[in-house]
Amino acid sequence: MAKKPSMGRQKIKIAKIEIKNHLQVTFSKRRSGLFKKASELCTLCGVEISIIVFSPAGKVFSFGHPNVDSIVDQFLSRNPPPNTTTRHLIDAHRNASVRDLNSQLTQILNELEAEKKRGETLDHMRKLASQRKYWWEKPIDELGLNELEQLRDSMEVLKKNVTNQTDKLFVEDKLFVEGNVNPSPFFSANGIAMVDSAEIKPYQMNASSTPPHVQNIGYGHGFF
């Protein structure tokens, strides 16, 4: 599942790119980055910008704040924009919604960064764990036939156990709903407050080695 490491930041010569494919990829990425910078400049400094870019294929991409046409017309006609009350209202309204969107964006970018960090932590954990050298944690391609068969058998057993446990929980929930038996982790894990939380055991790790943070995030019917 690991991403192939990219080449990182490379210094390039500012001249027309020879290879067509590279040129197209560069255009796509840089155009996107350019609009991003323009958008940030508008937000940070409250200025009005318009950028027009023709693609190698001849299509036109444009970015404009407040919008492309008003800026272009203003530029071409050399007339200052109308300074009416209506315009002010429209501007104020637009700016408010842009503010909201920006804070939404910031929030989701923060979440993304947090999840990326979590991913790195998990990768590190796996790296440490695999150093303990249990043969069955090696990549499947590195295992011999006999090892594979043993691993397969163990996995089949685990699968059975998982199914059994799932059924068990299912039945327990039914009983709970019908007759006040102790609730299973099913409900507590999903964060639904059930009666008598003292009965619900906190989620515990029994593993002897460093436990990962398997959070019982209520993904509902599972994540996959």
């Binding site: 599942m1 255009f27 400094c45 950028i51 272009v72 842009v98 989701i108 069955w136 156990n161 099913f186």
Partner: protein
């Protein structure tokens, strides 16, 4: 590159805002220029600010006018197809970030569950897992089984298509395993090896023969480094299965 992360909001401080504007405007113009040169395309940028009475233009007034004429000459639909304003653009960014977040969460979940799976293989119980965890764990085990089956089949296929060495049948169960356990190698002269014991559905109740063999030959069967603690997959987490006598 800045060290501090800048908050994506209007800069209240006047002098800070003006300084940021100067820097970023310069950078923006540089980026437009690079894009134009690298990709051999036409472009223009127009910036109106409270700091200058005249707009700042790239490449220059004449050049921008040329590009704009070219732009205006296109049919309305072509102009607006890839046209975007602040709101639209930020919405696009939010959508993209949401996609990435979803994928990252899914990857992280799989990583988490992989840890849980390996722990379960060495005896950790399933009692404390919630339905969602069990569901995902089951999925992951299935995925792994698929891969394992595929790999076993491919190994068996390549083994059976090789020359069969004479006298291969007289080997003992132990050394058969030992040779196989160390990885497939070139497989020269090796007949396809059947698993030493037929593990039927009752594997859980009886003690399989290969287990005893394995216990008696700890170092031969390790894929690498025989000095580590000999751990077996699926140790006795559930009490019912393997007797704890197996663990030294």
């Amino acid at each position: 590159m800045t060290r501090k992360k800048v908050k994506l909001a209007f800069i209240a401080n006047d002098s800070a805002r003006k300084a940021t504007f100067k820097k970023r405007k310069k950078g923006l113009m540089k980026k437009v220029s690079e894009l134009s040169t690298l990709c051999g395309i036409d472009a223009c940028a127009i910036i109106y600010s409270p700091y200058e009475s005249q707009p700042e233009v790239w490449p220059n007034t004449a050049g921008a006018q040329r590009v704009l004429t070219q732009f205006k000459r296109m049919p309305e639909m072509e102009q607006s197809k890839k046209m975007v304003n602040q709101e639209g653009f930020i919405r696009q960014r939010i959508a993209k970030a949401a996609e990435q977040l979803k994928k990252q969460c899914k990857d992280n979940r799989e990583k988490e569950m992989t840890e849980v799976m390996y722990q379960c293989l060495t005896g950790r119980g399933l009692q404390n897992l919630a339905m969602a965890d069990l569901h995902d764990l089951g999925w992951l085990v299935d995925q792994n089984l698929k891969e394992i089956h595929k790999r076993i089949d491919s190994l068996k296929k390549s083994a059976s298509s090789q020359v069969v060495a004479p006298g291969g049948s007289s080997k003992s169960a132990t050394s058969e395993m030992a040779r196989n356990g160390g990885g497939q190698g070139p497989g020269a002269g090796q007949q396809e090896q059947k698993p030493v014991v037929d593990l039927g559905a009752d594997a859980m109740q009886s003690r399989p023969q290969w287990f005893t063999d394995w216990v008696n030959n700890p170092n031969e069967n390790m894929g690498f480094g025989g000095d580590d603690q000999m751990m077996l997959p699926f140790g006795d987490g559930h009490g019912a299965m393997w007797s704890s006598a197996f663990f030294p």
